[in-house]
């Protein structure tokens, strides 16, 4: 664990949190509100924000309405639009840090490289790249599900001599005006980037592998009266939030299971495409060939129109390789570019862990997860006492705000930590049996969902195991997280 002699040990805290994104910060707030103030949050970057610090490409915005994509315990009456941009969301996160005085907990530039449990002491130790060790009685892994992005493994990527930009690490100094630009990918980020880039670039070429379902996006500027109303009558904002929540819950019917609502949603998608794209071949290229909901559903009003701008072209030929000057596709043509934008998503680990996590007796989480990640209620793992996961296995929302799920997780964590403290526990360890039973039920339910209906997506492992999504309504999830059932845990007192 501690390889170098320069390792510096810090006094043990009550809770150790890895990551200062929405999840890590939210956990700190709720712990603090519960009277637990001995918190250390380790963040590898030099600022808070996670997703919204890193993803600030042109057009970056949330695709769940801001009034729902925010914390219920810290509502913001001032959202400027229904779907706010990245900068505004980051502003909200930073303001949250101020409001709740979280700065004192955060250690920046601390990239966690190892997390290990000491059975003897009942303490987690996090070792960082900087050579420090931080400890806590409980640990929260909030390092983000989509926080690691790299250039994809396309043959010849090293050969390309032009400018390479990843959507999650935007180069704001690059001047796109008049340039020949290629965009690889047509997922959630790409469809936000393309309508912006097409305004600047001389020529924009978009490389698509799989067309996604794209829905109309009901995006409006927030009228001033509404902001005033929300400020004066916070209950009105809560009511809107509730309404949005229920509207999204109802979408589960279309997204998660194959139901008549699924057909309706597909019809809406096709209508949107037909209304915006007149050319039959282009429409064919953009028509998804998998059931809606199987992969992430996208929302946009300006993506299809952008593709049809005179300086934009969609390429659906498979990519053969990158070359010195551009991208060679299988139809034999080399498409040459000044810059290539990789909107190719994130490295999602279904089975591994982003850094070694060592539990009781030194067991490795990556080994336990070799055949697909598993947890109890997505939050605890048998063999890893006092460890809490945010966005753990099978907690992914397909139809509702990630933050709704996160709130349930965070409150569960507070309950767990309180239990450890009040009963003075060395180990709060979920039982193997409980985890197993939970997972059998989850996998049974997953088998009947659209995600497992045959399309390839980042939700699934190579052999089709779904360790990502939660097969049910957000309210069902919230319900299961309400109670910390001690019968499912073994308790070791200190």
């Amino acid at each position: 664990m501690s390889k170098s002699t320069t390792t510096r040990k810090n006094p043990s805290a009550t809770v150790l949190i890895v990551g200062a994104g929405f999840a890590g910060l939210g956990a700190a707030i709720r712990l603090q509100q519960a009277g637990i103030r001995d918190i250390v949050t380790l963040e590898r970057a030099d600022r808070v924000g996670g997703t919204w610090r890193d993803n600030n490409y042109p057009g970056a915005a949330c695709d769940i309405p801001s009034n729902l994509y925010s914390y219920s315990f810290d509502q913001n009456p001032d959202w400027s639009r229904s779907f706010s941009g990245s900068e505004e969301i980051l502003g909200y996160i930073q303001a949250m840090v101020e409001r709740f005085g979280l700065q004192k907990y955060i250690r920046f530039n601390q990239n966690v490289t190892d997390l290990a449990f000491d059975d003897e002491l009942g303490v987690w130790h996090a070792t960082t790249e900087a050579g420090e060790v931080f400890s806590g009685r409980a640990a929260v892994m909030a390092q983000g599900p989509l926080s690691n992005a790299g250039f994809p493994d396309i043959p010849g990527i090293e050969d390309y001599q032009g400018h390479k930009i990843h959507s999650a690490a935007w180069d704001h100094d690059y001047d796109f005006r008049g340039k020949k630009v290629g965009v690889i990918g047509t997922g959630a980020s790409a469809i936000q980037i393309i309508p912006e880039l097409v305004k600047e670039a001389g020529k924009l070429t978009v490389f698509q592998r799989t067309p996604a379902w794209v829905m109309p996006r009901p995006d409006f500027e927030t009228p001033d009266w509404q902001k005033t109303l929300f400020r004066k009558v916070p209950a009105s904002q809560s009511a809107l939030r509730k309404g949005l929540y229920l509207a999204h819950e109802s979408m589960a019917l279309a997204v998660i299971w194959d139901s008549p609502v699924t057909r309706m949603a597909e019809r809406l998608g096709r209508w949107h495409l037909k209304r915006q794209v007149k050319d039959r071949w282009l429409r064919r290229q953009l028509t998804p060939d998998y059931r809606i909901g199987c992969k992430r559903i996208l929302v946009s009003n300006d993506y299809y129109p952008a593709l049809q701008q005179p300086n934009c072209k969609l390429i659906t030929w498979p990519i053969a390789r990158l070359s010195e000057h551009g991208i060679r596709t299988v139809e034999g043509i080399e498409h040459q570019f000044d810059a290539i934008v990789f909107a190719t998503g994130f490295d999602v680990s279904h089975s591994g862990t982003p850094f070694p996590v060592r539990g009781s007796g030194g067991r490795l989480l990556a080994d336990d997860w070799k055949r697909g990640a598993q947890a109890y209620k997505s939050i605890n793992v048998a063999g890893y006492p006092n460890l809490f996961l945010t966005f753990g296995p099978n907690s992914g929302p397909g139809h509702n705000s990630a933050l709704v799920y996160m709130e349930s997780q965070i409150d569960y964590i507070v309950k767990g930590v309180k239990t450890i403290l009040s009963r003075n526990l060395k180990a709060l360890a979920v039982r193997d049996r409980a985890q197993q039973e939970y997972n059998e039920a989850i996998q049974q339910r997953l088998a009947k969902t659209n995600w497992n209906s045959g399309c390839k997506s980042w939700y699934l492992t190579e052999d089709g195991f779904n360790a990502t999504m939660y097969p049910g309504f957000a309210s069902q999830y919230a319900n299961q997280m309400k109670e910390l059932d001690l019968r499912d845990y073994s308790l070791v007192t200190a």
């Binding site: 070429t205 039959r280 030929w317 139809e331 034999g332 043509i333 080399e334 390839k456």
Partner: protein, 308 residues
Amino acid sequence: MAKIDLDKMLTKVKNTQWALSDIDWEAPGADLITEEQWPKLKEFMADLMWIEHVGARAFAAMAKKAPTDTLRELYTYFHAEEQRHANAEMALMKRWGMLDGDELPEPNINLRLVIEWLDRYSDEMPVYVLGTVVPMLEIALDGALCKFLLDTVDDPVCHQAFEKINDDESRHLGVGFTVMEMQGHGATYIKMVEMAAQLMDPRLILGIASYFPLLNKMRDNVVAMGLSEEKLYECMRKFEKIGGRTEDGRRNVWFQIIKQHSRWVVDRDNRFYHAPVDAIVRLTGYIPRKALPAIPSWVRELTYKPTA
């Protein structure tokens, strides 16, 4: 040709990609085309290019209907590879001064009808209909047209290009015949009747009505260039032999239908088949261009330029 492992084939296809810029289209040798050859070669190349392009579109339709992920990906690649062949052939035409500026060679009326049909209906055809027609077309391409071209044309760049094209085609054929056998596998009487019943689909009949005259017209064109009919026969026999080498293959009703039909096409003495079809060719010649809908936009994707 033994039955092949489609997953391995996909890997192989991905690992053996080439691009137009791998060929020096300005290399010496273009002047080896004789003046006498030139006008007929121009027609021949245009036909060839269009067949590849039409074949490409057929693969696109097959990709939509493919029964497995591997086949879907293979067909997606083959779609692009056929397009690459058409692009390369267009580049040869450019090299030989056969293109009118940057213009696409004008598709003849029968081609226009086939393009129109592919655009409207091919995506709805069951995969085994196109899955049998395409190998037949490819074997004709591979076995007769390309070989003939190489026998007649001395330009080394042409040989270089077709070496690559033929490598691709042999893989397409390998997959094509494997799939034909898969489809015949365990075919019960009912399934055979079902497969044959597709013949009654009016959309398919329309397709046939546009496809038969195209074949006759092309056959006339290649024969005019000096390709012996014997060569065409050889190809058809090859198709029959490979397609019918196993019980499964023979049980594929579409193989039987296409086989029979290809026999008729090459047999110019079969008045029963050719009189009406040739009549249609003549008739279609009267269709005013303006009566046809605009050329679909996928046709405009063709290019002779190695870089874009």
